[in-house]
């Protein structure tokens, strides 16, 4: 298992263990004591979320705790396999699997879950989950640049706000999301995003101080942690990594092929692809996925501190910078990928397509085209959470890294 492998690596930065333990508590020990503590005497509500378009600020502001439930578990996807159509993506299969059988208690603890209608599978996911739990659908517009969709989106967020208030409010005494609480929660999550951006900045260094599979795990752990605690741990990790950089303690040389992961999310514990890439001698320096860079990058900007203004700010943050391929047109994603390729000095892109995820596969054609112009090779990998194809994938990834290495060698000679 991935966590055991990580533990055996004695060169891990000390700060990473906090994140490993979060994952271990959630998936291995199935430990929910933390959450019970957080619920406390006033029985704070836990709200599950299924997409990065769900504003966690609203949940925190209402005194509830958000948990991002997208779990990349093969076992859960096998359970879900029997409940949803065969060609559904493994994310949805695992979500249904986790909820229907509750192999990890976190799912059962949620008082309600929020599902965004980003793609066809997600739209139907909500209906399936409603057999087991309370579901609130959040209708995300697919075209960003019209007044209608912006109006619709903000209306959706107000409805969501009302739902959350209803759930968290005590009888007779209305407990609403108040101005101060909202301002605080925006601050808390902006600080988390700041630390995440810092980690990405550190990963831009010519010789990396942290492997991608570990950095990605740390970011992924945000899903199961409380924002301010995660921020504290991330800030410690960042300090440590900066110190390592100044001491010149790198995890690999500056000649190691630098990989950008794009496409469908790598969701813990499905760490198959990141592990393979780094086992075969490359390093993942960044990613463009909804479990990484896209999740925790852009902060919310507000001008006045009125609830209305903050709601507009939240709405803008969760819609405009999001480059999920469920939006159309989505030229922004190509610009972002080009920008990342340059900033992180990328040698190659591994484009991950989860079986059944059509929108990501569609955009591959455009990504390949623009990257060809920049002479950056792109390897498409289609897979699911099943470990059966690890050796085939290894061959592909190894050959891809060999091509990059020989290209780098030629450039060095020239």
């Amino acid at each position: 298992m991935m966590l055991a492998e990580l533990d055996n690596n004695s060169n891990l930065p000390a700060g990473i263990y906090y994140f490993i333990n979060i994952m271990r508590d959630a998936f291995v020990k199935n430990q929910v004591r933390r959450y019970r503590q957080l619920q406390g005497r006033d029985n704070r509500k836990i709200i599950g979320t299924y997409c990065i378009t769900v504003p966690e600020e609203l949940i925190y502001a209402a005194g509830a705790i958000p948990v991002r439930l997208c779990g990349g578990s093969y076992e859960a996807s096998c359970i879900g396999d029997e409940l949803v159509p065969r060609d559904t993506c493994p994310v949805v299969k695992a979500s249904v699997g986790f909820t229907s059988l509750n192999p990890i208690s976190l799912y059962q603890m949620c008082d309600a879950v929020i599902v965004s209608t980003t793609c066809d599978a997600k739209r139907k996911l909500g209906e399936e989950l409603s057999n087991y739990t309370e579901v609130w659908m959040l209708e995300v517009p697919h075209i960003k640049d019209t007044d209608g969709s912006r109006r619709q989106w903000i209306q959706q967020l107000y409805t969501l706000k009302k739902n959350i208030e209803k759930l968290t409010g005590r009888k007779f005494i209305g407990r609403r999301i108040r101005r101060k609480a909202l301002e605080d929660s925006i601050g808390i999550i902006n600080r988390a995003r700041y630390q995440a951006r810092r980690l990405y900045e550190i990963r831009k260094s010519p010789a990396p101080v942290i492997l991608g599979r570990e950095a990605m795990l740390a970011i992924n752990a945000y899903s199961y942690d409380i924002a301010f605690e995660w921020t504290r741990a991330m800030s410690e990790l960042n300090d440590e990594l900066e110190a390592l950089y100044h001491k010149g303690q790198f995890v690999c040389s500056e000649y190691t092929p630098r990989i950008l992961i794009a496409g469908s999310p790598m969701i813990f514990p499905n760490w198959k692809i990141p592990s393979l890439i780094e086992e075969m001698g490359a390093v993942i320096v960044t990613d463009e996925t909804c479990m990484g860079n896209r999740y925790l990058y852009d902060p919310i900007g507000t001008t006045e501190k009125s609830v209305k203004d903050m709601m507009v700010g939240i709405a803008a943050r969760y819609l405009m910078p999001c480059v999920c391929p469920s939006f159309t047109p989505n030229e922004d994603r190509l610009y972002r990928l080009l920008q990342m390729a340059e900033e992180f000095n990328i040698d190659g892109i591994i484009y991950h397509v989860l079986k059944g995820c059509v929108v990501y596969d569609f955009e591959l054609i455009r990504v390949e085209k623009i990257m060809k112009e920049k002479n950056i090779p792109v390897l498409r990998i289609e897979t699911d959470y099943n470990p059966e194809d690890i050796e085939q994938l290894r061959t592909r990834i190894e050959a891809f890294i060999e091509i990059i290495n020989s290209k780098k060698r030629k450039m060095k000679e020239a």
Partner: protein
């Protein structure tokens, strides 16, 4: 004498080749079985005694193929993609300018596009199932009760090849069974199987934007029916590698000896 060895531990067969600076000195091919490490060691030892060489004569060993990481006698491992690209330096027929290699293995098939320096430019591999692999032919030949060696000559005698639409080994099997049930001639069915395989892999080749000349490697290349099907499908001549089964092992040996420049 400077000798180098390459071990291609494939999913179905292990191939061991020993070369010196200019020639293939000897080789061995045997089914992989369950213990690929032990088997390849045995084959290597036998090959050395056949060639009356001592282990110290072998300067370096490189392994490739699915079992490559299990081979403990090798000095380094390379991916099959690289091994096949380099192997073509020795196995391509004289006078050809190979730019694309199609290797049909037991578990997967690959299209490798190379440049004039034999460096891989692009490659594409089939997905994780047996569609478009040697296994596909193996499974279907069993249904048709034909030896794998016979199916090539058989298909060349076909009059009106059948249409096999499925590329999935399991679905194609039921398709073949239904063709038999309709009383179709076995030879026509075999020709249809070859067409179906050639169609799928040609699609991969087009996706990888292949360039001529094309070299076919892997044991399946010994099947003249399949070569003909490829030529029909791509509407061009196809070169068959000399010792197509050994292409990967020879490539690995060339890499072991770092002999790329001296083709």
């Amino acid at each position: 004498m400077k000798c180098y060895a390459g071990i291609d531990a494939g999913s179905t067969y292990i191939k061991v080749a020993v070369i010196n600076d200019s020639t293939l000195m000897g080789y061995k091919i045997a089914p992989t079985g369950i213990d690929c490490r032990k088997k390849s060691r045995e084959m290597f030892d036998e090959l050395l005694s056949d060639l009356s060489l001592s282990p110290s004569d072998i300067i370096a060993i490189t392994s490739t193929g699915y079992g490559r990481r299990l081979i403990d006698i090798s000095n380094e491992t390379v991916s099959e993609i690289m091994a096949h690209a380099i192997g073509a330096i020795w196995t391509a027929p004289e006078g050809s300018k190979i730019r694309t290699i199609i290797d049909i293995g037991g578990q997967d098939s690959k299209v490798i596009v190379i440049d004039e320096k034999w460096e891989t430019k692009n490659f594409i591999m089939n997905d994780k199932c047996a569609a478009g692999t040697g296994r596909f032919i193996e499974v279907l030949s069993r249904v048709l009760e034909v030896n794998v060696e016979q199916i090539g000559p058989f298909s060349l005698q076909a009059k009106t090849p059948c249409q096999i639409n499925s590329t999935c080994a399991v679905f194609a099997e039921s398709e073949v069974i239904s063709l038999l049930a309709r009383g179709k001639d076995r030879k026509d069915i075999i020709a249809g199987i070859h067409r179906s395989l050639a169609k799928r892999i040609s699609g991969m080749a087009r996706k990888a934007s292949f360039e001529p000349d094309l070299l076919l490697t892997g044991g399946v290349a010994l099947n003249p029916g399949l070569v003909a099907a490829f030529e029909d499908e791509l509407m061009m001549d196809i070169y068959v590698a000399r010792k197509p089964q050994l292409n990967g092992a020879i490539g690995a040996a060339i890499i072991a000896g770092n002999l790329r420049g001296k083709s």
